[in-house]
C-alpha cells in the first residue's frame, strides 16, 4: 500500500478583501483570517478520497510556514489526513526553496503520489508542484480535473487553455489540482476533536540542509489602478445606448 503526500499553504482566506500596507512593504496580515489555500484543500480532498477507496494507505499533509501553520495542518488532519509535518520557517521563502524542502520530505516518505494545489491564491506563483517534480525527476500533471490511478501509472485529465488534455504518468508523480477535480468536504466538529490527537511533527527549515534561494527582492507592493466610478442607467434601453456610446456594441 502506498502513501500520498499533500502539500498545503497557509494563505489569507479567499473571502478577505486584502489591503496593501501604506508604506508599500507588503499586505496587511495582522488580525486577518487565514485558511488552507483553496486549491490545496482540493488536493487534500482528493488524497482522502483515494484513501477511502483503498488506493492509498496513508495521507500525509505537509506545509512550510510559521508555527501558526499548525492550525491549517490540523484542519488537514480533520479532513482525513493521517499525520502532518510542518517545516517551520518564520519568513517567506521563494517557491524553489519550498520545493527543495518538500523534496526532503518526499525522499524520507517515498510517496506514490504528491498532490498540491495548482497555485496559492496569495502569491499566484503556480510553481511549487512543477519544481518539486523537476527536482525529484518524476512526472508532473498540472491543473488536474480528473485523476485515475491504475497500478503503477495514473491517467490525469488536465484543464488547458484549449480544452482538456489527458496525460498518462508513471508513478510516483506530482499532480496539481484545478477547481473541477472535486468539492472539498466540510469538516465536522468530531473530526476536529479527533484531529487534535493525530501526529504533527515539526521540522526546522534551517536544520534540513536546504539551500535558501534569495534570487528575488520585493521592492514595493502597490494597489492596482482604481477603476473609475461608473454611471447608473434607468432601464434596458438606456443601458444599450450607453454600451453603443462606449463602442462596446454596434
Amino acid at each position: 500500500m502506498s502513501k500520498i503526500l499533500v502539500c498545503i499553504k497557509r494563505v489569507i482566506d479567499y473571502n478577505v478583501r486584502i489591503r496593501v500596507k501604506p508604506d508599500g512593504s507588503g499586505i496587511v496580515t495582522d488580525g486577518v483570517k487565514m485558511s488552507i489555500n483553496p486549491f490545496d484543500e482540493i488536493a487534500l480532498e482528493e488524497a482522502v478520497r483515494l484513501k477511502e477507496r483503498g488506493i492509498a494507505s496513508e495521507v500525509i499533509v505537509v506545509s512550510l510556514g510559521p508555527t501558526e501553520t499548525q492550525q491549517q495542518l490540523r484542519v488537514g488532519l480533520a479532513m482525513g489526513a493521517d499525520r502532518a509535518i510542518l517545516i517551520q520557517h518564520d519568513t517567506a521563502v521563494e517557491p524553489v526553496t519550498v520545493a527543495r524542502a518538500f523534496l526532503k520530505v518526499v525522499e524520507q516518505e517515498a510517496p506514490l503520489l504528491v498532490i498540491t494545489g495548482k497555485q496559492a491564491i496569495d502569491d499566484d506563483n503556480a510553481q511549487t508542484g512543477q519544481m518539486l517534480a523537476a527536482l525529484w525527476n518524476r512526472p508532473q500533471a498540472c491543473f488536474a480535473s480528473r485523476l485515475e490511478i491504475n497500478g503503477n501509472s495514473a491517467l490525469v485529465t488536465r484543464e488547458v487553455d484549449d480544452g482538456m488534455e489527458t496525460l498518462e504518468v508513471d508513478l510516483p508523480a506530482v499532480v496539481t489540482t484545478d477547481l473541477r477535480l472535486n468539492e472539498p468536504r466540510y469538516v465536522k466538529l468530531p473530526e476536529i476533536m479527533k484531529a487534535k490527537k493525530k501526529q504533527l511533527d515539526v521540522l526546522m527549515l534551517n536544520d534540513m540542509g536546504v539551500p535558501v534561494s534569495q534570487q528575488f527582492t520585493t521592492l514595493k507592493v502597490s494597489p492596482p489602478p482604481v477603476r473609475q466610478k461608473g454611471v447608473l442607467v434607468k432601464d434596458a434601453k438606456e443601458l444599450i445606448d450607453q454600451l453603443k456610446l462606449k463602442g462596446v456594441l454596434q
Binding site: A134, L135, E165, G230, I240
Partner: protein, 312 residues
Amino acid sequence: MMRILVIAEHAHGKLNISTHKTVQCAAQIAGAEIDVAVLSDDASAVASQAAQLAHVKRVFKVEHPHFAHAVASTHAVAIVELAANYSHVFAPSSTFGKDLLPRVAALLGVGQISDVMAVEDSHRFVRPIYAGNALVTIDAAKDQKLVATIRVASFQPVATTGDATIESVTISATLPGYTRFSGHSAEHNERPDLQSAARVVAGGRALGSAENFNLIYQFADQLGAAVGASRAAVDAGYAANDLQVGQTGKIIAPDLYIAVGISGAIQHLTGIKDARTIVAINKDPEAPIFDVADIGLVGDLFTVLPELAKHL
C-alpha cells in the same frame, strides 16, 4: 549583453499569438538579443511563422518525435540544454508556459517570476499577486538566470515584419519517457471559451434555479458571449463548476462583462477587474458589484433581461 530565449507556444502547425506577446515583452528589455525556440515533431511551419516576428534574431527548430505534444517533463530537459547561453528564458503565462517553465527553472537551479505584466529594466519586473489585487515590483539577482512567464493580457503582439534566420538544433540529453500524452478534447460547446471570449455574460444566485439560469445562456447567445457564473450560483447548483468566475475560478479580462444578479463578493470581483467594460444588473442598489461597474442598472433581472433582448 542580455540574451533572451523565448519558448514558442504553438498547436496544429500554427504559432500561438501568446508567443507574439511574449516577444513584445522581451523586446522591452533594451538591447536584448531575442531568439525563439520551436519544439515540435515537425517544426518547419511554426518556425517560419516565428521568423517573421519583429525583434527576433534566430529561430531554433528543435525536432524530436517526443515533441509532438507539449509535455512539460520532456520539453523542460531540452530547454535546459538550449538555455545554456542565455541570461533570460521567457514563455507565455498560458497553461503551456505555466506548466513548463517552473520545471525548467528548477532544473536550472533558479526561481521564476510568474505573470510579468510590466518590464522596468532587464532584472526588474512588475507582477500581480492576490489575483491582481496588488502589484509587486521585483528585483532579480543579475548573476542568476532569469526565468519568467509573461502575462499575455499585458502585452500587444509584435508585428510580423521580421526576418530571423532559422537553424536546426539537436538535443543531446536523454528525454524522460515517464510522461505520455494520451489525448486532447476541445470543449464540446458552440459557445465562445470563457477564458478568452471578448464578451461574457455571467449569472449569480439571484437567478434562483438551474432552469432560470437558461436566461443567461439565451442572452449570451444573442450577444455571441461566453457564459460565466458566480461562486454562489455554482455552489447552489445553477451552473457548472467550470463556469465559475473569480479568484478560485477563472480570472478573465473580456472587453465586455455583464454581471446579472451577482452581488459582487470580493473573490468574484478579483476575477473580473481587468474587464474593459463591466455592466451590473442587480435588484440591490447597495450591491458591491456597482462599485466596480462602468454601467449599472438597478432592477429585477427577470424584467430587465427580456427588455434587453428586445432592444438589442
